[in-house]
């Protein structure tokens, strides 16, 4: 398959790993911030290929995982209304809040449907004119533009029974917040490829300027990831941090400006709560007044109740990269993919889920747990 096979090539991969082994002469901590990176690293067995001195930390880049349980509870409560059809991406459906998950709500009779695009939700709204169709708008920069485009289409169609539950987030503010945490020692950042397609590689420049952090934008295949890790090792060795774009076939410096303009037209930054990280200023997106008629929280006067994390759950610390799943007393015991307690276990991109499914082999080789 084009654009896949050549980036999984065994000879290329082993040449890159060899280079990495030669060039790594000190302990280096690298945070991969994107959930798809976490998944890909485990799925391709990349941890086993790396020099022991390279430590990979999984950051807060799974949109499902960072959605606070209070928001999940609001989703579940909304789904319980008979006049509402809730539509969502698949990942969200099993995430437990304090009052169960959307899957539980569905089992009790709620109308919850998995869609592959918000446009499918809009189509559904046209087919179900007597009910409110709500799309749970969760995701980072990658998904927000399609949601924006859907709202434009909804407005054009004059669709008055289509809504979103705005819970989108943006990536730079939590990275800024993380870097200020003295417990977290990170030398380099594997910047999220999908997000960068929209925002551009240069959107991470502030981390270089402010914290001297080595940055490399990476794609999702083994060669992409190893290439970016090698770039980070070289930056750390030379002491010259910069933003390197190692995903040139998809990412440009400035990003997709059309998508950026669209998002800016419809959404406005607001303070937002992240699971495990707390409230981070200007890290979430709300609908601008012009589009607020599509906001179900305004239409139904929904307020998010503050809520704590499940007892014993370490997802917050895991999302920050200061704990690994093996440190959590619930991991593999009470908390499994079949019965997830924290969100990092339920999402296919969550750190705990990836460790559980794929991670057993490297556990004993892991070093440097903090």
């Amino acid at each position: 398959m084009k654009y896949v096979d050549e980036y999984r090539d065994r000879d290329l991969v082993s040449a890159l790993t060899e280079k990495l082994h030669r060039q790594t002469d000190r302990p280096i901590s690298i945070m991969e911030v994107c959930g798809t990176h976490t998944m890909s690293i485990f799925r391709h067995g990349i941890r086993n290929m790396l020099p022991r001195q390279i430590r990979l930390i999984s950051g807060p880049g799974c949109p499902v995982c960072v959605t606070p349980s209070g928001v999940i509870d609001a989703f579940v409560e909304l789904a319980g209304r008979s006049d509402v059809i809730v539509t969502t991406f698949g990942d969200m459906i099993r995430v437990p809040g304090n009052t169960g998950s959307l899957a539980d709500a569905r089992a009790k009779g709620a109308d919850v449907r998995i869609v592959y695009s918000p446009m499918d939700a809009l189509t559904l709204a046209a087919q179900e004119p007597d009910r409110m169709v709500v799309f749970l708008s969760v995701g980072f920069e990658t998904t927000t533009p399609t949601i924006g485009a859907t709202l434009l289409a909804a407005r054009q169609q004059g669709r008055d029974n289509f809504f979103i539950f705005p819970a989108n987030k943006i990536m730079p503010p939590p990275l800024d917040a993380l870097m200020q945490d003295p417990r977290l020692q990170v030398d380099g950042l594997l910047c999220p490829g999908h997000v960068s397609i929209i925002t551009g590689a240069e959107s991470f420049r502030f981390l270089v300027d402010k914290y001297g952090l080595a940055c490399a934008v990476a794609g999702f295949e083994p060669v992409d990831i190893l290439l970016a890790i090698l770039a980070l090792v070289k930056q750390v060795n030379s002491g010259k941090a910069t933003v390197e774009n190692c995903y040139g076939r998809a990412v440009t410096g400035e990003g997709n400006t059309r998508a950026q303009t669209l998002v800016d037209e419809i959404f406005t930054p607001v303070d937002s709560r992240w699971r495990g990280l707390g409230v981070i200023p200007a890290s979430g997106l709300a609908l601008r007044d012009k589009y607020s008629a599509f906001d179900i929280t305004k239409k139904l006067d929904i307020h998010i109740k503050p809520s704590g994390e499940p007892r014993g759950c370490q997802c917050g610390k895991i999302l920050k990269g200061i704990r690994v799943p093996e440190d959590c007393p619930l991991f593999r015991g009470r908390c499994t993919p079949a019965n997830p307690i924290g969100p990092c276990m339920v999402s296919s991109e969550g750190t705990c889920g990836a460790w559980y499914r794929y991670g057993g082999l490297e556990r004993k080789n892991l070093e440097g747990k903090q």
């Binding site: 398959m1 896949v4 096979d5 999984r8 090539d9 065994r10 991969v13 082993s14 959930g35 798809t36 485990f42 799925r43 391709h44 067995g45 990349i46 086993n48 290929m49 949109p63 499902v64 991406f89 698949g90 990942d91 969200m92 459906i93 099993r94 998995i114 592959y116 499918d120 969760v138 995701g139 980072f140 990658t142 998904t143 999908h194 083994p222 060669v223 499994t336 993919p337 079949a338 999402s347 296919s348 991109e349 559980y356 499914r357 794929y358 991670g359 057993g360 082999l361």
Partner: protein, 336 residues
């Protein structure tokens, strides 16, 4: 005949009788079935009896490469086959939703007849119920089957040994990805098709040739090859080592899996047989598998070791290694 199934068709009265004589008997011709007795009486075969049942509730009921009817025939035949049984006869239980299009039912019954004919396994007894609209989803089918296992055949997980070879009769994930994309209404370029087919010809061939060397067989349906291997690893406390590069997949299946973020190791197959066999006979078994149509793409995909007892380890195409845990929950597409 009306254009829709009504509750009358399940009443046991005249409409039911007409359904049986005008539709079911039109396609299903076994004389034992036509006796319409309360139970089919079959001649007693030599050997041991294998008995299996399975219910089919697939949505959509028609999908590229097949429909719920032939799936119900092939699925139960395959369950019997995996124990080394020669399937003899099937029962057919239908639960129909009021309002089901009569044409759809006819199409399904016709497919059942064709699948039975091809497999050489008749439906010898059956039952039909109709439930009010909304109490079922169009049509649910249960098939049970009996088969006979020769006395010298012993297929059991407990026979799997260190050093055994793992063979697979073809490509992965065809059925699972076809259903998931049909359900999602996703248009994937290419030709995704379910792999539903009976496996008893293939099984008969390899058992005839190397019966004793075949230690266990499974058809990796729900949960996929990954879950099937994980179950065997756990049960035997042995390590199943497989190589990603040896797992055959159609290009469009791979593309769809990549697109939807699904792991083909966990997607269902409905016409694939996994064989674990003694190493000295592996080549001969492979040759025998390849000699039948449904096994023409067979290959050796791994071996049984003691490296990580109780676990499945995959060597990726890039040369990495990782664990394969059993599937938990339905495979779900991801957000981004």
């Amino acid at each position: 005949m009306s254009s829709h199934i009504t509750l009358d068709h399940g009443s046991g009265g005249l409409a039911s009788q007409n359904l049986i004589s005008d539709l079911f008997f039109k396609y299903l011709s076994d004389p034992i079935l036509h006796r319409l007795e309360d139970a089919a009486v079959l001649p007693a075969p030599g050997g041991r009896i294998a008995f299996s049942t399975d219910s089919y509730v697939v949505d959509p009921i028609f999908f590229p490469g097949g429909n719920i009817g032939e799936l119900a025939v092939n699925g139960t035949i395959n369950d019997l086959s995996m124990q080394g049984a020669r399937p003899l006869a099937l029962s057919l239980g239908l639960i129909l939703e009021e309002g089901l299009f009569f044409d759809d039912l006819e199409h399904i019954i016709q497919s059942i007849a064709v699948a039975c004919e091809y497999a050489g396994v008749p439906v010898v007894t059956g039952d039909t119920k109709v439930v009010p609209r909304g109490k079922a989803d169009k049509i649910f089918i249960n098939t049970s089957g009996i088969g006979v296992v020769d006395n010298d055949i012993e297929i059991a997980t407990g026979r799997v040994r260190e050093g055994d070879i793992i063979l697979l009769s073809g490509t992965l994930a065809d059925h699972g990805i076809t259903i998931l994309t049909s359900r999602a209404g996703l248009q994937v370029a290419g030709n995704l098709r379910s792999d539903t087919r009976p496996l008893h010809f293939l099984v008969e061939k390899i058992l005839q040739q190397e019966g004793d060397a075949i230690h266990t067989m499974r058809d990796p349906t729900r949960g996929g090859l990954g879950t099937t291997l994980a179950e065997i690893a756990r049960a035997t406390n042995l390590c199943m080592e497989i190589k990603e590069e040896d797992l055959a997949m159609h290009g469009e299946v791979r593309a769809a899996c990549e697109l939807m973020g699904l792991d083909p190791l966990y997607l269902a197959n409905e016409g694939k047989c996994m064989v674990i066999a003694a190493p000295d006979k592996a080549e001969a078994i492979l040759e025998a598998m390849c000699s039948v149509t449904e096994g023409s793409e067979s290959c050796i995909v791994g071996k049984v070791t003691k490296k990580y007892p109780g676990r499945v380890v995959l060597t990726t195409v890039s040369g990495g290694t990782r664990l394969v845990e059993p599937l938990s929950g339905e495979p779900l597409p991801r957000i981004c």
